[in-house]
């Protein structure tokens, strides 16, 4: 029943909220004076970034709860959220490159924001490498929880990189006169849509992962008891 409701919510997001976002981004939001139409990548880029932080945030909290309770349920939730977070972080880097090329004339530059985001990406790739490398379940969960908790410390560094160091990356609070109010509204709608979407994807991934975990446990128990 829960899965059916989740699928319905996913379909609703894909068929109603996303087309609405596209309409707002491409038809309603004003064209930026200097960058032109390519600035519309901003709405997607920022929504993907916040969704990635959401995934890493869920991983962080679930990892702490796992270390306290030692319940595999939380380890499962942590890895599912981390996977979705890593997907969105990858897309942040890709869409950022597509934005940087026409605006900065390069696909990549060693800017503090970009570098800290790349480090964050490598940390979570490392998280999944730890999970692959350790075969014993409880040890794997414990080690990866520690990596997940330490790795999350880079999230505030990514957010504050443009404040702490000299950076060419745009900062919402530094733009002259701020964002156009219509741009802010479009950004908020897009952000809401992506947060809903990311939450549903995390939950669906978690349910698949948890079902796998339980079925594997039943299989192992059956093999032990019946040979």
């Amino acid at each position: 029943m829960k899965s059916f409701r989740l699928t319905k919510m996913l379909l609703l997001t894909l068929t109603v909220l996303f087309p609405l976002c596209f309409y707002l981004i491409f038809q309603v939001a004003p064209t930026e004076r200097i960058m032109g139409d390519v600035q519309r990548i901003f709405y997607l880029h920022i929504a993907l970034a916040i969704s990635a932080y959401l995934g890493f945030g869920v991983l962080f909290v679930s990892s702490i709860i796992y270390l306290i309770k030692k319940n595999p349920y939380w380890d499962c939730l942590a890895s599912s959220a981390g996977e979705v977070g890593l997907l969105f972080a990858t897309l942040v880097l890709i869409t950022g490159s597509f934005w940087a090329r026409p605006v900065w004339n390069v696909w990549w530059t060693w800017d503090p924001r970009l570098v800290s985001m790349l480090i964050l990406w490598f940390i979570y790739v490392g998280y999944f490498m730890v999970r692959k490398a350790v075969s014993e379940k409880s040890r794997r969960a414990r080690y990866s929880a520690i990596v997940g908790i330490i790795g999350f410390l880079d999230v505030p560094v990514v957010r504050l990189a443009t404040k702490w160091w000299r950076s060419i990356h745009p900062r919402l609070d530094r733009q002259e006169g701020g964002l156009d109010p219509l741009m802010v509204k479009v950004m908020l709608v897009t952000l809401f849509t992506f947060i809903v979407f990311a939450s549903i994807v995390i939950f669906i991934r978690f349910r698949i992962s948890w079902a796998e975990e339980r079925v594997n446990t039943i299989f192992n128990e059956m093999e032990v008891s019946h040979g």
Binding site: M35, G36, D37, V38, R40, I41, L44, H45, L48, L87, T90, L91, I94, T95, F98, W99, R101, P102, V201, I204, R205, I208, A211, E212, V215, I218, F219, M222, H226
Partner: protein, 48 residues
């Protein structure tokens, strides 16, 4: 106008990434469904 390549490139890449991920999970779901059927079959055979 030439900037539109980058604009649509970014949106296409993002949607391609999300679609591939959702399809991968659909594959995982089918795999777990077939394993659940195996367990179901095993239990039925035990009860016979």
């Amino acid at each position: 106008m030439d900037n539109l390549f980058y604009l649509f490139g970014a949106y296409s890449a993002a949607w391609l990434g999300v679609t591939v991920y959702l399809l991968l999970n659909l594959g995982r779901l089918k795999k777990i469904e077939s394993r659940i059927e195996d367990v179901d079959e095993f239990i039925r055979r035990l009860n016979r």
